[in-house]
């Protein structure tokens, strides 16, 4: 990140007459179509291939990924993404398969989907998984649509409340609202858990779904989970497991055994598919037996010795996306499951929890850890005391970490911890990396106590300093415009 000069936009470097020859020089478009349906101009530039390669290489050098350094972003499970997964997804027999290929000509692909579906079902104790949803939030939406359809099929249309703890991911209430449910927020107890009594207080014949993350976003195991799911079922509601934190229990405990009726996984977290700068993800949706008929279409089935995509599911909520699944990611995830087997996956979550606890006890020597007990895959630290003492906030610590070659932890989430830093190391980091990170963080805290201005000025080594977000929001500049068109969006 030493290159501090500005990076011009691709639109500023192009020149007419500098086109690459990828395609045959065809006839004029007006040979094929009437002029009135054709576009008059196409204001995008021609660039030479080398200029394009340099441009995007340069942009990559201004981007921090797991391959660049330690990425302790809480609730995001930024573990190593094995390269063999990408190589498998790129096999021509998988990459070049069209979604409308008849089942008989796509048995390998269907088998891949089926093997992952079966493996996930066993690993998480669910009757079936749909590989249809495109991401975790998309699966949440599908799950709540299933709940809605399920209650409707039983004539229980009064159930319109979704109960969400205050530590939940923002997608939970947003998904509920998209299905027309009313959201009830639950306050966590002093131990940072969902309180059985609080849940019981709001349960009733209008309860549709209770959504839980376990371990929750404080990294704590919801030890009363079984009592909670029993109470919800007693009231006739359904329980949803947000699998964002599944890396903390995979192979060691199962949401199905805890009493959850619905759950999602984020393949880009637990199952090592690359985040790619914010997607594409993949969010398999698991359900218990009584909800299988409601899954999105299509569902992969084994019939006799062949695999089929089943679209004929009369109770289904319907499809969630254009085509069957984010298949290339299903391939990656299955390759990862093959690399580990059941035993390996069990070890994965154990070492993820070990790494988190190791960091927690090292970091509590110099930063508050508000819920100081054995955590799971992540934990929260707070800069509240440091802020009072020095004026240095969680945000400043985060920026100072960037200067030291680390990605910042998740900040200001969950909302119930002031000046929160949420740290998730994952199992793929070595003890040496964790020790070095602790040293960097300690150095920041010590510097904050002596020379806070140094931390407040961070980052200073990055290609830009702190950016003016207020200006970005007040005067949105969301695109480049050709010189001739002055208007601004």
């Amino acid at each position: 990140m030493s290159d501090h000069t500005a990076s011009p936009l691709i639109f500023e470097s192009g020149q007419d007459g500098r086109a690459n020859r990828y395609f045959e020089r065809g006839k004029g478009l007006d040979q094929f179509l009437p002029r009135e349906v054709l576009r008059a101009d196409l204001p995008i530039p021609d660039n030479s291939e080398m200029d394009v390669v340099r441009h995007f290489t340069r942009l990559s050098q201004r981007t921090f990924g797991i391959d660049v350094g330690f990425y302790p972003l809480g609730s995001c499970t930024m573990k190593y993404n094995p390269r063999v997964n990408d190589a498998m997804a790129n096999l021509p027999g998988l990459r070049d398969l069209h979604p409308y290929t008849p089942d008989a000509q796509a048995q390998g692909a269907l088998r891949i989907m089926w093997e992952l579906e079966r493996s996930l079902s066993s690993l998480f104790g669910m009757a079936a998984f749909s590989l249809n949803p495109s991401a975790g939030a998309h699966a949440e939406l599908a799950a709540l649509l299933i709940a809605k359809a399920y209650f409707k099929s039983r004539g229980e249309t009064k159930r319109d409340k979704v109960i969400v703890p205050d530590t939940a991911h923002g997608t939970n209430p947003a998904s509920a609202a998209m299905c027309g449910f009313k959201v009830i927020s639950l306050k966590s107890d002093k131990r940072g858990r969902v309180s059985v009594d609080e849940v019981k207080k709001v349960l009733g014949d209008d309860t549709a779904v209770v959504m839980m993350t376990n371990p929750n976003t404080l990294g704590l195991f919801e030890d009363h989970v079984h009592e909670i799911t029993r109470a919800v079922h007693g009231a006739g509601g359904l329980c949803y497991y947000d699998g964002a934190n599944a890396n903390a229990l995979m192979g060691n405990a199962r949401p199905g055994d805890m009493g959850f009726d619905l759950m999602h996984l984020n393949l880009h977290k637990t199952f090592t598919i690359p985040h790619g700068g914010g997607g594409a993800g993949s969010g398999p949706l698991g359900v218990a037996k009584h909800l299988v008929d409601f899954l999105p279409t299509p569902y992969v089935r084994k019939k006799n010795d062949a695999f089929v995509l089943d679209f004929d599911m009369p109770k289904s909520i319907g499809p969630m996306r254009s085509f069957w699944s984010n298949f290339a990611h299903i391939v990656r995830a299955l390759a990862y499951v093959y690399a580990n087997g059941a035993e390996g996956l069990t070890k994965v979550s154990q070492l993820a929890v070990l790494n988190a606890n190791y960091l927690r006890v090292k970091i509590r020597e110099f930063l508050e850890t508000p819920y100081d007990e054995i955590c799971r895959h992540e934990f929260v630290a707070s800069a509240q005391a440091l802020k009072k003492e020095t004026g240095v906030r969680a945000l400043d610590i985060a920026k100072a970490l960037l200067d030291r070659g680390y990605m910042a932890p998740t900040m200001y989430f969950p909302l119930i911890v002031p000046e929160c830093l949420m740290i998730e190391p994952t199992e793929t980091e070595s003890k040496e990396t964790l020790d070095a990170f602790v040293d960097a963080l300690r150095d920041i805290v010590e510097t904050a106590k002596g020379e806070p201005e140094k931390i407040l000025a961070a980052p200073i080594t990055t290609v830009v300093g702190r950016l003016d977000e207020t200006r970005a929001a007040r005067e949105p500049d969301l695109r480049w415009r050709p010189r001739s068109s002055p208007a601004k969006a």
């Binding site: 977000e469 207020t470 929001a473 007040r474």
Partner: protein, 127 residues
Amino acid sequence: MAQPDGLLYSKEHEWVKIDGETATVGITGYAQDSLGDIVYVELPKAGKEVAQFAAVGVVESVKAVSDLFTPIGGEVTEINTGLENDPALVNREPFEGGWLFKVKLSGDAQTSGLMSAADYENFTKES
């Protein structure tokens, strides 16, 4: 920040200034300060009937968003169009240029449940 006298205040940190049949509504200095840099204000449309304490809009800052509850009921007659291009007015002059909308009071308009400047001052200290 001092609370101007002569206005009434709600627990949701809105103020209302009643002038005959018309009431002007805004958010308090305390509210704009805790929200931070305001970037956008979504207001009810003129002509809309609003009930006291109903959610009628949204105030957005860079990193937070807050529902706007009207402290008074009636018909919205005017909105502050200046905020469209300069939402920062709410930060700079919450009680003056940064007003949000005006309401024509309905016959049975209630001011119960609202506080005086001094009571509001105490209220913000407690919360």
